[in-house]
Symmetry: C2
Subunit: 245 residues, 2 copies
């Protein structure tokens, strides 16, 4: 039988990337957490249009948020990493209007959607944290929309790669040499950037050739970060403790 991670032992909380909880908050969240869910790579965590009774938090693994059109065209909205919230839209509005898919095996903390409204009354600080997450996600979407709407293929790649690396670094996923194990294929990149696979491949290859980045067998590493940030027009993110749920 699988052991469930207690919130008090939460491996995320122990990384200094996340802000500490008060005793009260910790106890509250422990009670709120209704279970843990394991999903394996390539499976759907939540489905577009479904009115799931759950809200999740990512404990480990990578996922992606995505919307598809009837004929199969698909747009990846963003990538989901440990510490992220899944299903807030469904909790606030009615049903989910996007899907979430696991990129690697994932472990999720499960909460009952019905309990969420109560959180705001019981633990206002946590309510604040939820808004913080929403604001952060909105900012991310803003940046992606600029990429997809107004940037060239090369700029989009630079931006996407920096966004992914920054996010992963912030939660401490990088190796000692700054390299990063990223379970993202070129098809994923294409779908996230509104490009075709072929064009993504050619552009990426060119950038690897110029030494801007390294990309081998799912391991990604920034080559010339300065020049990459220049192409992307993106400043390095100021480090700060992330609020966790």
């Amino acid at each position: 039988m699988k052991k469930i991670t207690a919130c008090s032992d939460c491996p995320l909380r122990q990384r200094d990337a996340f802000r500490p909880f008060s005793e009260g908050e910790l106890a509250y969240v422990s009670r709120l957490k209704s279970g843990e869910m394991q999903v394996s790579a390539r499976t759907r965590v939540v489905e577009e249009g479904v009115n799931s009774p759950h809200v999740f938090t990512v404990l480990s693994g990578w996922g992606l948020r995505e919307k598809s059109l009837a004929d199969g065209r698909r747009q990846i909205l963003n990538f989901v990493l440990p510490g992220d919230l899944i299903g807030l839209q469904a909790a606030m509005l009615d049903a989910m209007d996007h899907s979430v898919e696991a990129l690697t095996d994932m472990t999720l903390c499960v909460f009952a959607r019905a309990d969420i409204a109560q959180v705001f009354h019981d633990q206002p600080g946590l309510g604040h944290t939820v808004v913080w997450h929403a604001a952060r996600n909105e900012r991310l979407l803003d940046a992606t929309l600029v990429s997809v709407g107004r940037c060239t293929a090369r700029e989009r790649l630079a931006r996407a790669i920096l966004i992914i690396c920054d996010k992963a670094h912030r939660i401490g996923l990088a190796g000692a040499d700054g390299s990063l194990s990223v379970p993202i294929t070129q098809q994923h990149l294409a779908d996230a950037l509104g490009l075709s696979l072929v064009h993504t491949n050619r552009t990426l290859k060119a950038m690897v050739g110029e030494g801007l980045i390294r990309w081998r067998a799912g391991r990604m590493q920034l080559g010339d970060e300065t020049r990459l940030r220049d192409i992307a027009e993106m400043e390095p993110a100021a480090p700060s403790a992330l609020p966790l749920i």
Copy 2:
């Protein structure tokens, strides 16, 4: 001297599109509201990169949220209508990373950013409402990202027009005949959809020619709504009371 609208007389609250406030909430917001601001069309309400001490609520008028690149390319993220919140990102994170510009003359309710954190403790119900707004906005951005990333020009136009009309209708801005006064130029549409002005014009013109929509002198009207929704792959939005701040 200009009269300030009291929250108890808020013209928005009187429309049945918005949910009613409790006595306590009303009193609280009245105290929280630190002023009112008039901005005229074509001026910036908030500027990218600036750390404004204010958060706003739209009382009347249209605006747009936008991000620009160094060389002038710009992407409109979404349009802002009465009842919308401006500046939440700045309140939660550090500075604004997008600008807001007035499309028409606007009246804004002004709140102190420093007070926002306290709202969650004093009026959890309002905190919940803030998250609701964030979730709704995220959903909107998701849909726009799909448009810009994966849709043809014609599909993008159909989707954008439906999104705008739906949003305006929901807050009661439509005329009796279903027509709508929209202060949006084709250049705005182009910037919102990641298209050039020329191509937007041609595509729009074709769609007007087919009777899908009407577009004359800033007044927009749906022609064949069914077919338009078919092109856009968008269901009509279920009506429901919007939480107001």
